[in-house]
């Protein structure tokens, strides 16, 4: 559905007062767009910072892996290594294994943030078109409504947690797909 509210406003006969009001709203929308730009930049910076931090952690873990492997090698050459040392090394190796796996959180978070940045870009476009319509009450160009933009956003989600958060925010039920999908599945 195209944006109707502002289209109706701009199509009607307007007094000088009406034009002033439209101009004020347009200026406000531009301020909102600036705010939006700042938020997008901040979120992008968060995504980049977590990516850098996660990569550095992964690099350190990689170095620790090699050190643990060396320790394993040294103790295997020793005729009777202390059992406590062996157990300690084994625990370290296990911990490193899981730490490597946990680093995947960053990829999940990055994708969530990138989609928010993209959505804010759509909001920006919406505000821009609205401001243009207010300033230039010519023939209106159909723009996607906020509801349509939200639907488009929904279709772009790649995780169930995104879909659920979206549905919760809109106070609606998440469509049920029967049983929850398995985290690991062989075909």
């Amino acid at each position: 559905m195209p944006i109707m509210i502002h289209s109706e406003i701009v199509r009607g006969e307007q007094s000088a007062d009406g034009e002033i009001v439209n101009e004020r709203i347009a200026v406000e929308l531009e301020q909102v767009r600036l705010f939006n730009d700042v938020m997008r930049g901040q979120l992008q910076a968060v995504a980049e910072a977590t990516e850098i931090a996660a990569f550095r952690i992964a690099e350190r873990l990689h170095v620790l892996d090699r050190e643990v492997a060396k320790l394993e090698s040294i103790t295997s050459d020793t005729t009777a290594p202390a059992e406590g040392v062996r157990q300690c090394i084994s625990r370290m190796a296990g911990g490193l294994f899981e730490a490597h796996a946990q680093i995947q959180f960053q990829d999940v978070v990055r994708q969530q943030i990138e989609l928010i940045v993209q959505a804010l870009g759509q909001l920006d476009e919406h505000a821009l078109q609205l401001a243009r319509s207010l300033r230039d009450p010519g023939p209106s160009v159909a723009q996607p409504s906020v509801a349509e933009r939200l639907d488009e956003l929904y279709s772009g989600y790649v995780m169930d947690r995104q879909r659920v958060a979206h549905d919760v925010a809109l106070q609606r039920e998440t469509p049920s797909t029967g049983t929850a999908p398995l985290r690991t599945e062989l075909f």
């Binding site: 990516e51 996660a54 990569f55 992964a58 690099e59 873990l61 990689h62 892996d65 492997a69 190796a93 490193l96 294994f97 899981e98 490597h100 796996a101 946990q102 680093i103 995947q104 959180f105 960053q106 990829d107 999940v108 990055r110 994708q111 790649v158 995780m159 169930d160 797909t177 999908p181 985290r183 690991t184 599945e185 062989l186 075909f187």
Partner: protein
Amino acid sequence: MSTVMLVDDSATILLSIASILGKAGYSVEKAPNAEQALKKFNDGVKIDLLITDLNMPGMNGIELIKEVRQLPSYKFMPILFLTTESQQSKRMEAKAAGASGWIVKPATADELLNTIKLVLR
């Protein structure tokens, strides 16, 4: 020693998953995108298992495996998706394209290694 081709646009994922696989005794070939992975396949690099992300800039994971399945040497190679996507419809699309299994990120080391063992059996 089996060789695993790992494809993901996240450098962190490549490094961390490669570390897990390396520690478990696998040889790992890494590619930061589907195009580079496909080049390695076209070059005939020996690969026993492909693990790929789904959503990547450029060619996505499903497009990649469709291409790989066209290559006679890799027609029956196991292919796993390691992705944040959990939707059933995407899994079915991947299965139709020739995938052997699906793992949702973040996966534990056990989930990952157990699944790899199963498909390489």
